[in-house]
Amino acid sequence: MLDKNGIAQRIAQEVEHGQYVNLGIGIPTLVANFIPEGIDVEFQSENGILGMGPFPFEGEEDADMINAGKQTVTLEKGAVLFDSATSFAMIRGQHVQLTILGAMEVSETGDIANWKIPGKMVKGMGGAMDLVASADNIIVAMMHTNRAGESKVLPKCSLPLTGVNCVKKVVTNMAVLDILPEGGFKLLERAPGVSVEEIVAATAGKLIVEGEIPEMNLG
């Protein structure tokens, strides 16, 4: 099983040289720490940064320089600042090529739910609905099951949706899954020490297992 950093590390392998990437709150934020040398990417923060850098050194925090998670951040060389409308023009216009975000549930047809639990919790969708409706490539980073041990990898989402038919890949603490255009989770890789049987047991949606499933290579 992977921890959050492990999930982030595995997702970092999906990031391609020259991509503009939006990282959601939580596990996705950690992905920035694992981008290999030589892969040039720029991180977009939807509150108005392109070329977001690491957290500031202590004492150098600036209230006017935060990311979409409201954390203090810095800028990389060549960064740009802009307003929210311009930011979502970049997102909606598919100039941001890769979106990595968390989810409460993902369905075998690529639907995602991550903003509301009726009657219990409503944080709002923030920029997630724009992001999942727009980017060509959307990767979900999440735990395979919830705290009650129930699968989050489902035939159909039970919670209010954030987007439909949009998620292309899911990386969990147990597996890497492609979502096929015709529906279904295709098992690509197992997390270290996790068996195919365990993944089958933890996956409620249609799982496609073909041939030998390799263990993730986390270098």
Partner: protein, 234 residues
């Protein structure tokens, strides 16, 4: 000769606000929020407000201050976490909440300011947000029709500004301020620093003064940091 939008302070700037009005408030989280205008709205005690703002502040700062006093009837926002009182009022039904995808919120304000009454966007199709809205396919992809937003007053916070209402923002404090400045029937700008006319480089103004009706130097700015996150020097 440039117009003079300068008012004496927040009291004069908010002349004409009253119960039941719709306000836009710039800011993302606590970054770039019109602190002085919010304080004055609280002081005036006007009620039944509809507030369009990306977030709803925290319990004791930002729009949270107007939630404490129950001045807000309805919030139109994209993300409202980090605020317990908000969640309580919403789940109990005391507060009406219209949640909107963040990009649609920004674009709806921009459209309101730009005389575009409606536009199609893919965001929210197939979700609660799309319910009851017109759906149309473009390039093989479903889109929903979203309407422009405007407000009786838009309150924005800028870094620098001049007497004709030209504004410059700093860092990520820009966020929703420029699109909202365009969409207010009356747009009020509070600035950290009022500069003499002619000092702002005409080529690098973020919000042209034509969108601003009143401007004043804010008395003070707390500029609270919501999530102070640092790394060590090693």
């Amino acid at each position: 000769m440039a117009m003079n939008k300068l008012v004496s302070g927040v009291e004069e700037a908010l002349e004409g606000v009253h119960d039941d009005m719709t306000f836009m408030l710039g800011g993302f989280g606590l970054c770039g929020i019109p602190e002085n205008c919010i304080a004055e709205l609280r002081k005036r005690g006007i009620k039944n407000l509809t507030c369009i703002s990306n977030n709803a502040g925290v319990d004791d700062f930002g729009l949270g201050l107007l939630l404490q006093t129950r001045q807000i009837k309805k919030m139109i926002s994209s993300y409202v976490g980090e605020n317990d009182e908000f969640e309580r009022q919403m789940l109990s039904g005391e507060l009406e909440v219209d949640l909107i995808p963040q990009g649609s919120l920004a674009e709806r304000c921009l459209a309101g300011g730009a005389g575009i009454p409606a536009f199609f966007t893919p965001a929210g199709y197939g979700t609660e947000v799309g319910e009851g809205k017109e759906v149309r396919m473009f390039n093989g992809k479903p889109h929903i029709l979203e309407a422009a937003l405007t407000a009786d007053f838009a309150f924005v916070k800028a870094w620098k500004g001049d007497s004709s209402g030209n504004l410059v923002f700093k860092g990520t404090a820009r966020n929703f301020n420029p699109p909202m400045a365009m969409a207010g029937k009356i747009t009020v700008a509070e600035v950290e620093e009022l500069v003499p006319l002619g000092e702002l480089d005409p080529n690098f103004v973020h919000t042209p003064g034509i969108f601003v009706q009143r401007i004043f130097q804010g008395a003070s700015f707390e500029k609270r940091i919501e999530q102070r996150t640092v790394r060590s020097k090693n």
